[in-house]
């Protein structure tokens, strides 16, 4: 199991190899990438920041809950902070389970809850402005 918040570029194959487990029949991987537009408005790059110590703890809680719901053999989560250029990975979640259904469902559960509870903030940088995503209704 691995949980990291990192300023480094995400190494997708490394994360997948971390969760590879002899008892697993499948690995589900979610990769979040930096999109070049929001509602048609051109995005130049993303910038993430986090209260890292708490983010790790909150991610651990989400993983613990997922483990209580599904039969998970191994999990790895890596979330980037700092500048993330268009097309680059901002987050990766890999879950290895005995059977694919558990892998699909638990991976989705983890990314959905990551977006709700974990103290990570995303700023979209446009050509002439910037916005902290989801801050204002």
């Amino acid at each position: 199991m691995m949980i990291e918040i990192t300023e480094d570029k995400i190494n997708v194959s490394k994360i997948i190899s971390v969760v590879n487990h002899p008892e697993a029949g499948g690995i589900d991987v979610f990769i979040g990438t930096a999109r070049n537009n929001t509602s048609g408005k051109k995005v130049m790059r993303l910038e993430f920041e986090s209260h890292v110590s708490m983010a790790r703890k909150e991610l651990q809680k989400i993983v613990n809950t997922a483990k209580s719901k599904w039969n998970i053999k191994s999990v790895a989560i890596s979330h980037r902070i700092g500048v993330v250029n268009i097309g680059d990975e901002s987050v990766i979640i890999a879950v290895a389970c005995s059977h694919r259904n558990d892998a699909f469902e638990s991976c989705r559960f983890i990314i959905d809850n990551l977006k709700k509870n974990v103290p990570i903030w995303k700023k979209e940088i446009f050509e002439n402005s910037e916005i902290w995503v989801a801050s204002y209704s």
């Binding site: 209260h51 977006k115 209704s137």
Partner: protein
Amino acid sequence: MEIDVILYGVARDIIGANKYKIKVDIQMSVEGLLRKLENEYPKFKQLTSLFVAVNDEYVTKDYLIQKHDEVVLIPPVCGG
């Protein structure tokens, strides 16, 4: 005695600083802190959510801030 409330994201932009000082000589609840912030910086009222974490855990509005607490303002999160 004063302690620093740590600011991230849009909360830092609203206040224009990395930290916000509060006095803890008089007992202050999280609710009191949020009310004080909203009075001084009305933009906080427009946020979709605003929570407080103490020592890396979310706390409820009735929590009383202690002098050795690490207090962090949590504006709307958006990981992923």
